[in-house]
Symmetry: C3
Subunit: 339 residues, 3 copies
């Protein structure tokens, strides 16, 4: 069942298994894993006051759930996760919703050595009403089963550096009048952020094996490198590797320190896992404001901040280490809604 490079066909749509009903239980577990404090995802009255019908689940819980379903079909034989692009959060997901995922193969490129190839997919996560909750593009380096299998025609999709602001989907019914900055934790609003601002997110979080395993199982992500410590002894790192999405969630939760009013994710422009994280390492993060966009009618709609969060291991971020710093493990470029 595990697909190798030569098993992917351009244009094929893969329906992934295991639809998942997310509940308050999953959100409670997510809270314990990251301690996020963005008020939209922790307070039902706060969410309702700004026009959400119910408190949405954390955006990254949705992302990891949609992503997790693709692993057995797309990346179980992946050598490397090369990137994400053009991810857009569309309909909020609330407790009781059921997510399912499908991936369309949008690009294929065999490597010159004939042993591996890059697969590009467009993954869509739907709720039980077939509303699109989230979609994104991703490309992974996948092994060939048979090195002699013929190479497919090379097709590389156009993947812009960032989602265009006009393509963001503002939360339906958003009512900025109901936004309570005191409850949210800061008076620093959209107008107060400037392009180029750098924000250190402060103290670090040391990660334990039990934590990242609980997280990765919650997402039903089955990649064995995260769980099988016995096999890992003979592997490249000699130990279990932490799911890159765990680092994204940690960094996003930490970013509350300074980004209190960047209350929800609007889009994922790109993500690079530059170096691996292992249990016992401590994660730090900082963010630079890359762009600002006013989307629609600012009387009712939130603004969008394009943010680039850099996470490091075992090095605080008060000196704003670059993406090329030896300590850098993650570069995560995204749009966030901000009042």
């Amino acid at each position: 069942m595990s697909r190798y490079f030569e098993d992917f066909k351009l244009g094929e749509v893969i329906t992934h298994a295991t639809p998942r009903t997310l509940t308050a239980g999953d959100q409670g577990m997510y809270m314990a894993l990251y301690g996020s404090r963005f008020a939209l995802h922790t307070s039902a009255p706060f969410a309702q006051a700004i026009g959400y019908p119910a408190m949405p689940l954390d955006d990254l819980l949705v992302f990891h759930t949609v992503f997790g379903k693709t692993v057995p079909d797309v990346s179980i034989n992946a050598v490397a996760n090369l990137g994400y692009a053009q991810g857009v959060f569309r309909v909020p997901v609330v407790a009781g919703d059921t997510l399912r995922s499908e991936s369309e193969v949008i690009g294929l490129k065999q490597n010159s050595n004939g042993k591996t190839g890059t697969v590009y997919v467009h993954t869509r996560g739907y709720n039980q009403r077939n509303d699109l909750a989230l979609d994104y593009r991703r490309w992974v380096l996948v092994e060939k089963r048979d090195h002699d299998a013929p190479a497919p025609e090379t097709t590389v999709p156009d993947l812009p550096d960032a989602v265009t602001a006009a393509d963001l989907v503002p939360p339906a019914g958003f009512a900025s009048d109901g936004y309570d900055c005191t409850a949210a934790g800061s008076d620093k609003r959209f107008a107060d952020f400037q392009i180029g601002d750098k924000i250190d997110h402060g103290p670090g979080q040391t990660v334990e094996d039990a934590e990242h395993q609980l997280a990765t199982r919650l997402y039903q992500n089955t990649a064995k490198v995260h769980f099988d410590g016995f096999a890992a002894q003979a592997g490249r790192f000699g130990k279990r590797l932490i799911y890159g999405g765990h680092v994204i969630s940690l960094a996003r939760a930490m970013s509350f320190n300074g980004l209190e009013n960047a209350f929800a994710l609007a889009a994922i422009n790109g993500g690079t896992h530059k170096a691996p994280l292992f249990a016992g390492d401590t994660v730090y993060a900082w963010t630079e404001v890359l762009d600002k966009a006013e989307v629609g009618d600012q009387g009712a709609k939130p603004g969008a901040l394009r943010l680039r969060t850099i996470a490091t291991k075992n090095q605080p971020c008060n000196a704003f280490p670059s993406k090329d710093d030896d300590a850098t493990i993650l570069i995560f470029d995204y749009w966030a809604w901000c009042v």
Copy 2:
């Protein structure tokens, strides 16, 4: 309060304390602990499409909860858990249901050394409507408080090797027409399994102390060997021992790889914890198909597979190690419903 061997009376029914309302929170925690992917327990629409009124909680969460309540009364002074038999899952348990347990003493046999004896109980777990959700037999080796206490008359109940297929309780209202193999993750159906089939469940799961402790507390199982690392230093193993039920749940979740459509437990025929598991060990599992049974009208009812799962530690199962292999820690014999 802790019962010793001489405190058990044949025919006595012990009502265990602490009824437990299971919620979506418990199921979320269970998911994070094992990462199970059987669609019946992760997707409400999937469950409803095959006739369940609501998404049932994982069968083994139900088992561990019913079992946990018996520990303070039955096995707090146990030297060893000797076996399970004749366990039947009856009414599905859903979020919001409250489970309580009672155990009837159905057998007693003092050992020839006069220091210990075997206690046989028939444990029943009921929901808040007094429907029987699960019942099973179990026997444990219990210490005597007073070695001079007189031996009771020996009574050993008849405990067949397996639940008879006719005694299985198919899910009420089951509608096989609604079963979606793509969502469930495999096209391999009941008719495709043959007696004697051997299925390796693939990658292992390394277990951490935090994980098995979270699990065992979730089940309100109070056996101190699982929690008290200080006392354990002076004990037989020098460290905390992992609850055997944690291994059963891990192995069952792993068994999704190859048993995707064996969607729910029907019965527990037997379980043997052959060797202890400790934090840092990696669990692997494989399953053999022991029997097949068509139960009732196959147009509407699922079939039943009798399966024997063997779990090992620190040894992959691709070579199908026997139950007597040094690496084997669990032999779990059960019936599963399969479309």
Copy 3:
């Protein structure tokens, strides 16, 4: 934003950020963290039978949530948590309720060295209907930013050793007739407890870093000493320090062994964290009955037991170690409702 000693003004009311909707998910996580067995918080039918409209969330989950919100404003620059007093549980909190916190500065006293000062706050936790769920006083030793800043006038509030029994708030609609001692786990009732009784709570619980981190994030408590192992290497202890509230919750859950019918917290008289706890340590606890009070009409109201729980590390409590024992880490003085 982080307040130093000179930033606190007598009479000021600080509204803390991040209101928090607590759900069944949080209660499920709490259960996995501590394994509490008090029936009021684990069985909805039990709760309803004694007059609660719904199963309340664990009292200490409520306390930690209210407390966690105060950390960024009150104690992020604290050198030490000096004490709690006059904490009263008022309206039960159920799944779906949203808690918010505010703290009134009720005392200030600069230390003679001019580098630190004690801040006294009265913290109130409200639900979404503005009912007071819990309030308590707390005092912390806070650093000054500027050692030359003028000292405020010294004001030290009157903080009695214990909440007066007349100030306790019995559960509304309590119906003792519906109390089921078998379900609760013991026939030892209010009348059976005597002042001076000492109760050992039995086996210990070894604590892992993953566990206390999950707990402390669940409470959105951001104190970096609990999470940042890299920074801790250069600190006073060389490692992460476990949140004191985690020890309180462990000790309370353990106290079920002997206090089965002391079914809910009524008040917190005081709490002292005498020594730090680290991952790998094993916690034990014992309790002394300090006082008994009949509150209102005993036909319908529960009695109140004033209890002092002492928790130790790496030393069992069967010999009832004193509060001054080297192994003692916590002295927790509280009132509990008991039938």
